[in-house]
Symmetry: C2
Subunit: 325 residues, 2 copies
Amino acid sequence: MSNTTLKTISTVLGISISTVSRALKNHPDISNKTKQRVSELANTLDYEPNANAIHLRTNKSNVFGLVVPGISNYFYHSFIASVEEESRRQQFSLMILQSGDDPEIEMLNLKLLRQNRVSGLFASVSNSNKQIDAYLKLKEADIPVIFFDKVPDIPGCNRICVGDAEAARLSANTILQKNKKHVLAIFGDENLLITKKRLAAFMQAIDGKINVTVVHANSAASAEALTLENLLFKPDTVFCMSDEILAGTMKAIQRNSLKVPDDIGIIAISNGFIPTLYHPEITFVETSGYKLGKLAFNSMMSCVKGSTFFHDLTTQPVLVEGGSL
Amino acid sequence: MSNTTLKTISTVLGISISTVSRALKNHPDISNKTKQRVSELANTLDYEPNANAIHLRTNKSNVFGLVVPGISNYFYHSFIASVEEESRRQQFSLMILQSGDDPEIEMLNLKLLRQNRVSGLFASVSNSNKQIDAYLKLKEADIPVIFFDKVPDIPGCNRICVGDAEAARLSANTILQKNKKHVLAIFGDENLLITKKRLAAFMQAIDGKINVTVVHANSAASAEALTLENLLFKPDTVFCMSDEILAGTMKAIQRNSLKVPDDIGIIAISNGFIPTLYHPEITFVETSGYKLGKLAFNSMMSCVKGSTFFHDLTTQPVLVEGGSL
DNA sequence: AATTTTACCGCAAACGATTGCGGTAATGTT
DNA sequence: AACATTACCGCAATCGTTTGCGGTAAAATT
């Protein structure tokens, strides 16, 4: 049994295709008896409407594109999970593509998305201007584009980001509130925009009230090494800007067999998974890919529904208390 | 500028749609001059063929479906990344759906996939027979189904799995080789096929040579609790069947401030990420989602190309030495 | 009995791309 | 000059679904 179509049903029942179509959609023109017969046969024949035909006719694909540098990243895949969840709920499908930060692949991906007439696109982009232009072309073709996380630094586009400054501020205030006096603060690569934002906000919130040692790590391994070095100066708290850094720091803590939180306090900005892997669980400020996804999806829906207003949003980070501080 | 079609080009150039179509496909019937004019205009108008129209006509969607319980899982998203990579390379798109282990959603997903006339389906299924039937219906509709990871326990379907037995055997042999004498072995839900396979192979390899306590945990939390309980009996080694269990076990280890590997040895079957988060890094037998993805994709392609031969494959696991044993 | 209303249902065009078949003009062949 | 060949190109049907419009019978109204 290959694929049942309206025509199959219509010929079996000796009625027209239009009648079958209307019967299945509960159109008032069709008698109950006919509706009954049609829907029964449709069931036994496992009829499913051909989405391609519908999309062709309506010129709407009900498919959203989603482009990320790579799926294998906790932040992105929680984002993806979130968007997928909402999409399904709203009868949309998701076409997921990864660029691998390769401009050529990125262009191919865009072509594919256009061929599939996606109804909208979620994109986290490697910051090359040439690519951005290509994305903006989609907007001209009336395909809404929601940039998230890694967004282009130009106005007039929809941007949904985590609240970097707010997350750093919240972390700093939590540290102050706990009466900590000497913080080892480990940030990421100092050239990254995200690092700059978080560092500035963090220092501003600390406001010289307590002693802070700032270092920069660009990998879990270097975070581990830097933590080990600086443990010699007996900080009472370590702040980690990201999950990757937290992972490195925790290895150093374990290596030195330090008791958390008695020997040392830990607080991090995190997506929420890594902190649950330790005992006690790490206190963290959540920058949830999941929430970001919800936000991005809402933004997308309002675009799809015709809003021409540009969204420039950030998620509100939340403190999740573990037992590490 | 909305959407350019063949008709747009044909009317602008004053030629027929068929000619435009053939020109773009470099058909020999069309003169070079015409081809030139057509492709130039197509470029400036940013023409992209409408995938829906093509799929409708050819009755082939060139879209693969991919169903997993949840994306937010290191194993699955490395699998997804792998399959996406290959799909793109072979001009296929990927429609990813998560079931959340909810049978109802699973049925809705299947419906969606059928509506979209996917060319094939990768599925990891929660083991309910009713659902499996639905999947098998796809096969009847000539849609190849590749089950991976969590596969149904029935013959006559394509199954790509990690080498469960081999991984368990390798773990057991490693434990024996390290001269351990008392193992706490934590397995997953005892109804799952994967648990049965790993347990059987593990016990067979141990062959009564040393003392093994077997327990079953169905979450990280229960693994933690079970580990805590059984630490009272002073095992010299803990074997964890999966990453989730490993995470729970490590929290118990940390809670009791045990030194690894001096106080206790740890070995796990893992996808490779979690073990690197601890110091010392956990020795594990790798079951790579990435490799599994490549294998599954190859299997899919041979099905798509018409092979009716059933694939029942397993990946070869590898021991990765950390410092935990 | 003639007319209007109601209840059902079918025709045909449209969405965009592909392709077998047929057609016309220009060129080549005898 | 008559015919055959070549080089180009268009017509129309098709994939599956939707929908405006029109049509025909039966039922209701006068």
